[in-house]
Amino acid sequence: MNFAVLQFPGSNRDDDAINVLKNVLGHSAHLVWHKEPSVGNVDAVIVPGGFSYGDYLRTGAIARFSPIMQDVQRFAANGGHVLGICNGFQILCEAGLLPGALVRNKSLQFRCEFVHLKTATKNSPFTVSIPSDLYMRVPIAHGEGCYFADEATLKELQASDQILWQYSDAKGALTEEANPNGSLLNIAGVMNKGRNVAGLMPHPENASEPLLGSADGRAIFESLVTSLANKANFK
C-alpha cells in the first residue's frame, strides 16, 4: 500500500505516522507538503497530529484552506480513505469532511496521558480488524479535544453507526472518569456517512510498538491496510 502523510507548518506527528506505516507495517509512505496541489497516486491519506498554523484562530481552521486540502476533498469525494489523527481530526472537522467540532477540554487543561478506547463499531475500514475484546490503550496529547455536535447530528451519528471510538475504562465501560476532555457521548473518533473518512483525537501511531508502552494502536492501521487490500465495502 502507498500512503500520503500531509505536512503542514506545525505538524509534529507526521514522522511518527510515516514510521508506523513504513517501519512497523512495511508499506510505502511519504510526506506531502501542504502547498502541493495533489496527494499523488496513493491508496490512503493520513492527516497527522500537531499544531498546524500554531492553532491560530481555531485548531485546524487555517490548515483546512491549504492548497493540498482541495485535493483531499476531491480524493475523499471519490471514495479515497482519509484518516485524521488529533490535529488531523480537527482539520477534517473544520473542512466539513467530518461532522462536529473539537473544542477546549472541559478541564481547561492540556491532557497528555494514556486512555482506553472502546471500539463502537467494526463496520468500518478503520476498525474492522480490531479484536472485539480489545480496549485499546493509546495516548492522548491535546488541549482541544472535547467533541461537540448538536443533538440532531449526534442522533444521526448513532443511527448511521458513525461513532468509531469512545473513551472507556480498561474494561470498556463508558464512564465520566474515563472521559479525559468532556467529549459528548465519550466520543474519541467518528467517521463520515460514506465510511471512508475518519478522525480521532488519540494517537494510535504512538502506540504501535511494544517499546512505546502499547502496540494496541496498530490495529487501526492494520484495519485500514486489510480493507484497502480486500477492497472492502462498508455500508
Binding site: 484562530l57 481555531r58 481552521a61 487555517i62 484552506f65 472537522c93 473544520e94 462536529g100 467540532a101 473544542v103 477546549r104 477540554n105 472541559k106 478541564s107 481547561l108 472535547c146 461537540f148 455536535a149 448538536d150 443533538e151 468532556g182
Partner: protein, 79 residues
C-alpha cells in the same frame, strides 16, 4: 473603514472558560453575575469602499473562516 467582529460560543456548547471566569468573579465578591461567555473580538482594517459590498464579504468570511458555525455565532459592524 473598519469591520468589528464578535465571535461567541453557541449556547449549547460547553464554555469552561466562561464558567471559570464566572466563578472567579463570584470569588472576588461581584454580585449578580448570571453567566459569562468568553468569545473573540476581531478588527479588520479596510480600504475605503462600498459598505454594502464589504458587508457581504465580511459575512462570507465570518461563515467560512472567522467563525465555525458548528460551535460559534458571530455578529459584526462596519464603521
Amino acid at each position: 473603514m473598519k469591520a468589528k467582529i464578535i465571535v461567541t460560543p453557541k449556547k449549547a456548547v460547553l464554555d469552561p472558560q466562561g464558567k471559570t471566569v464566572q466563578s472567579a468573579l463570584e470569588h472576588m465578591g461581584y454580585k449578580g453575575v448570571k453567566a459569562v461567555h468568553v468569545g473573540k473580538y476581531l478588527e479588520i482594517e479596510l480600504a475605503d469602499g462600498d459598505k454594502a459590498v464589504y458587508q457581504k464579504q465580511i459575512d462570507e468570511a465570518c461563515h467560512k473562516l472567522l467563525s465555525n458555525p458548528v460551535i460559534e455565532d458571530y455578529h459584526f459592524t462596519i464603521e
